[in-house]
Amino acid sequence: MFRFLLTRISLIVPTFIGVTLLSFSLIRLVPGDPIELLAGERGIDPVRHAALRAQLGLDKPLLEQYWLYIQNVIQGDLGHSIVTKVSVVDEFFTLFPATIELSIFAIFLALIIGLPVGILAAVKRGSVFDYSSMGISLVGYSMPIFWWALLLMLFFSVYLGWTPVSGRISVLFYVEPVTGFLLIDSLLSDETGAFQSALSHLILPAIALGTIPLAVIARMTRSSMLEVLAEDYIRTARAKGLAPWRVIIIHALRNALIPVITVIGLQVGVLFAGAILTETIFAWPGIGKWLIESVQRRDYPVLQGGVLLIATVVMLINLLVDLMYGLINPRIRR
C-alpha cells in the first residue's frame, strides 16, 4: 500500500510543475506588452511603466522570473487582483466554499437519483423502465448545460415563480460566515427563513450542474451492475435462497460500485467546467464566475492564480480518488 501511495504521489509532481509553467507563461504568451495590458486602454506613462516592470520582475531574465514565481507560489503568494487589489489566494478561499457547496449538492442529487435508477434499470433489463431511463440519461449526457440552466430558470423562476432567479441568498438576510457553506451557516444563525432562502437559491443551479454526472452515474451503475449480476457468486447467492433484494443490494452492489466510484472521481473536472457556466448564469458567487469575470476584465493575476489553484484542487481530488480506489479494491494495489 505504501509503495502504491508513493508512486501515485510522485506522479503528480511533474504535472504540478507543468501547471505552474502554464500559469507562469499565461500572461507572457498574450501578444503585446503585459504592463500595457494590465494598464488597459488609458495607457501608462513611461516612468510608471518602468517601475511596474521592475516591481513585477519582468525586467529580469525569464529563468529567474520563473524561479521567483515558484518561490512565491510555494509561499502561497499568487499576486493581487488588478481590479479589487485583494490577494488572489484570499479571494479564492472566500469564493471557493460557494463552489464546493454547489458541487457537493449537485453530486448528491446525481447520486441519490442516479444510483437507484441505474440499479433498477440493470435488474429490470430490457423493460420499458430500462429503455426510457437510459434514453433520458443519454439526453442528459448530451445536454448543453448552459441552455438547460436557462430552461430551468425560464420554467421554475420566470413561469412558475417558485425559485429566485439568481444569487446565493435573499438580500433580506445577513448570515455570519462560519463555515462558508451557506446551508450550514444559515442553520447556525438565528435568522428565520434564511435556510429556506439559501436552499431555494441552491436547488436550480445544483440540478443544472448535476445533470451530466447524474446521466453518467446512471449509465455506469447499470452497465457495471449488469456485469456483476452475471457472475457465478451471484448465482450461488440466489441458489442459497437469499432474498432477491439482499442479493442485489448486499452482494452485487458492493462490487458494482467500484467502477462507479472512479467515474464519480472523473466527474470532478466536469463539475468545475460546469460550475463556470452554471455560476455565470445563476450569478452564483463562486470561483467559476470569478474566473470568467477575470477574463472579461483582463485581470490576468486572478486568471493565473485561479488556473493554478483549480488545477491543484483537481489533481489532489483525483489523487484522493485513486487512493480510495486502492483501499476499496485491493486487486489494483501492487
Partner: protein
C-alpha cells in the same frame, strides 16, 4: 465436395459492409445518422433551405413568437429575435458554422493526435515521456477552463475558440493512438513486417495505423459532439464566435436578456445544439458496437 466448393467460392462480405450491417442493427444510431445527414444537407444548402437571410432584420417584426403561438405568423416559423431576424434561418446557417468548425476541430486533433501518439509509441524513453507528461498537464485542467485560458491568451474569436478546442481534445487522441499502437507493436505481423525490412515510417503509417483506427473513429465521433458543445459554451461566454455570426451558443448569449419576455429566443438555438450533440453521441455508441463487438454493452 460440391457443397464445400460453393461455399469457398462465395465472395466474403467486405469488412465495410459488415460494419454497416452491424451498425444498422442499432436503431438509435441509424436514426441518428439520418438526422445528421438531414442537418448536414440543410447546412450545406442553407441558401435555398432557409426562408430568410441570417442577418436580415425585419423592422416590422421584433420578437415575433413562433407560428403556432398567439401573434405568431407563418412568415417566421420559429419567431424572430430582438432585432427582427428570423430564428429558423439563423439556426440553419448556424448549423453550417457549428458543423464545419466541429469537423475542422475533430480532423485537426485526430491528425495531430495520431502523429504525436505514433511518435510516442515508436520512441521509448525521453520523447515518449515528454509527450505523455505534456498530455497529462493538459488533462489536469477541466477542458472548458483550459479552452478559456487559451482563448484568454489568443483573444476571443471563432478561429481561436476552435484552436482552443483542438488543443483540449488532443490528449485523448494521443493517448488512444499510443495505447492502440503499443498493443499492436508486439504482434507477429508487425514483427514480420520489420523482419521483411519495412522502415519506421512504413511501420507507423501503413502497418500499424490501420489496425488502430477503430477506437479512433469512435473517439472522433464522440469528439465531434464535445467539440460542438465546447464551441457553443465558448460562444455563450462571449469567447467564441462574435455576434452577428449565427453561432448557436452566441445566439443564446445575446438572447439572455429577453428570457423573461421571449422564451423562443432562448429555446430553439439550444434545442439545435442538443439534437446535434445527441445524434453524434448515439452514432458514436452504434459505431463502437459495430466496430468492436468486444466492447458491446448491454
Amino acid at each position: 465436395m460440391k457443397e464445400a466448393l460453393s461455399i469457398s467460392s462465395q465472395n466474403p462480405r467486405s469488412p465495410l459492409l459488415e460494419i454497416w450491417d452491424a451498425f444498422r442493427l442499432n436503431r438509435g444510431s441509424y436514426v441518428a445518422l439520418v438526422v445528421i445527414i438531414i442537418i448536414g444537407l440543410s447546412a450545406l444548402f442553407a441558401g435555398s433551405v432557409a426562408p430568410h437571410l441570417p442577418a436580415e432584420q425585419y423592422r416590422d417584426a421584433f420578437l415575433v413568437p413562433p407560428a403556432w403561438a398567439e401573434d405568431g405568423s407563418l412568415r417566421f416559423i420559429l419567431g424572430t429575435d430582438d432585432i427582427g431576424r428570423d430564428i429558423l434561418s439563423r439556426i440553419i446557417y448556424g448549423a453550417r458554422v457549428s458543423l464545419s468548425t466541429g469537423a475542422m476541430v475533430v480532423f485537426s486533433s485526430l491528425l495531430f493526435g495520431i502523429l504525436l501518439g505514433l511518435i510516442s509509441a515508436f520512441n521509448h524513453g525521453a520523447i515518449d515521456i515528454v509527450i505523455m507528461r505534456l498530455m497529462d498537464i493538459m488533462l489536469a485542467l477541466p477542458s472548458l477552463l483550459m479552452a478559456i485560458v487559451i482563448v484568454a491568451i489568443l483573444g476571443p474569436s471563432l478561429v481561436n475558440a476552435a484552436m482552443a478546442v483542438v488543443i483540449v481534445q488532443l490528449p485523448h487522441f494521443v493517448r488512444l493512438t499510443r495505447a492502440a499502437a503499443i498493443s499492436e507493436l508486439g504482434k507477429d505481423y508487425v514483427i514480420a513486417s520489420k523482419v521483411a525490412g519495412a522502415g519506421t515510417l512504413r511501420l507507423m503509417w501503413i502497418t500499424v495505423l490501420p489496425n488502430c483506427m477503430a477506437p479512433l473513429i469512435v473517439q472522433a465521433t464522440l469528439g465531434f459532439s464535445s467539440a460542438i458543445l465546447d464551441l457553443a459554451a465558448l460562444g455563450f461566454l462571449g469567447m467564441g464566435a462574435q455576434p452577428p455570426t449565427p453561432e448557436w451558443g452566441t445566439m443564446l448569449s445575446s438572447a439572455l436578456q429577453f428570457i423573461q419576455r421571449a422564451w423562443w429566443v432562448v429555446t430553439f438555438p439550444g434545442l439545435a445544439i442538443l439534437i446535434v450533440v445527441l445524434a453524434f453521441n448515439l452514432m458514436g455508441d452504434g459505431l463502437r458496437d459495430a466496430l468492436d463487438p468486444k466492447l458491446k454493452s448491454g
